[in-house]
Subunit: 195 residues, 2 copies
């Protein structure tokens, strides 16, 4: 069976993260058999998105406008700047409803072995932004992974060198966490930061 269009569709679906051959096949057959309308909608959504979604000039998140709605929102507390790795992390913070300041999205994290240095995460733009006289505190909300920690450490050093207050999200036992199953490093941190 040589079906170039079908094979091409399966190959294109395989480029999605987390999609292997079997899933790509299942997706292709599903779309062809049950959801040709969904396939057309997806094609349009992809085309529109790559053509028109760009980075916000101020916070670097994805947006259709020059400056994203969050940065333009006058209700936001402009004295707080929260640094996150990705728009997905930003969305998670927004859903938590615990933060009403502004954001700076790194679109990555420091990872020298992968060629991601200070320039790639826009460190200079962050430092400039944080020095604008309006920002009073930069909250480093990068992940608590090795690379996220390195990124937070490097940025906090650079911010503090300029006299800017830099804080980090608290570590501790997650809600619903049973101590028995929480890793020892987390327990040690939760003990040290007890309140």
């Amino acid at each position: 069976m040589a079906e170039p269009l079908l094979d091409g569709l399966i190959d294109a679906l395989r480029r999605l993260p987390g999609v292997g051959v079997k899933s790509a096949q299942r997706m292709a057959f599903h779309l062809l058999q049950h959801d040709r309308d969904g396939a057309r909608r997806l094609a349009t959504a992809l085309t529109d998105a790559v053509q028109r979604i760009r980075h916000c000039e101020r916070c670097h998140t994805y947006t259709e406008a020059a400056v994203c709605p969050t940065c333009l929102d006058p209700e936001r507390d402009a004295s707080l700047l929260c640094v996150v790795e990705s728009p997905a992390d930003q969305a998670a913070l927004e859903r938590s409803g615990s933060y009403r300041g502004l954001y700076f999205v790194l679109m990555g994290r420091l990872s020298p072995l992968d060629g991601v240095g200070a320039a790639e995460i826009g460190a200079a733009a962050l430092l400039e932004r944080a020095s604008d006289g309006v920002v009073q505190e930069v909250i480093l909300a990068t992940g608590f992974t090795a690379e996220g920690e390195v990124t937070a450490h490097a940025l906090s050093q650079a911010l503090r060198a300029r006299g800017i207050k830099a804080t980090r999200l608290a570590r501790g036992v997650p809600a619903g966490g049973e101590l028995e199953y929480v890793d020892l490093g987390t327990i040690a941190h939760a003990m040290g930061d007890r309140r």
Copy 2:
């Protein structure tokens, strides 16, 4: 954050089978950040596929032509007709290299509760095809699930009523299967069909 294009892309990706909100978000961000070329390719592949892929007139599988390459292959043994539920099942049989006959793809299986009856799986076309005088044996290779078994049973009854030989793939212990972990129904079948 109200970003209609980004939300639209995430919604469209969620319509893919097995993709939830989190995966759709990850896919959208991945495409935007690392693979805009892949997104464009996927859009084109989707558009081309829904426009040009249709069902083979003879075996009902997906093809760009009126009759698929498999049906047109003169090397195939036209006296054997293998009935499968889907092009994915057909592809699996092809990969096994154990079959050189022709196919009939049901594009589903009998499932009265879901409104899938004999008409939806093209039973009439199958019976007509099997009665063409060339086909000597119909091999029922629907799945060994409840619905696949019902489908195989109904089709074999109809075929035998017309004097057409209908066989079923063998059941048994799968290669690499340890008896300890094989379900009891399979063991009982393997014992009954021992050779």
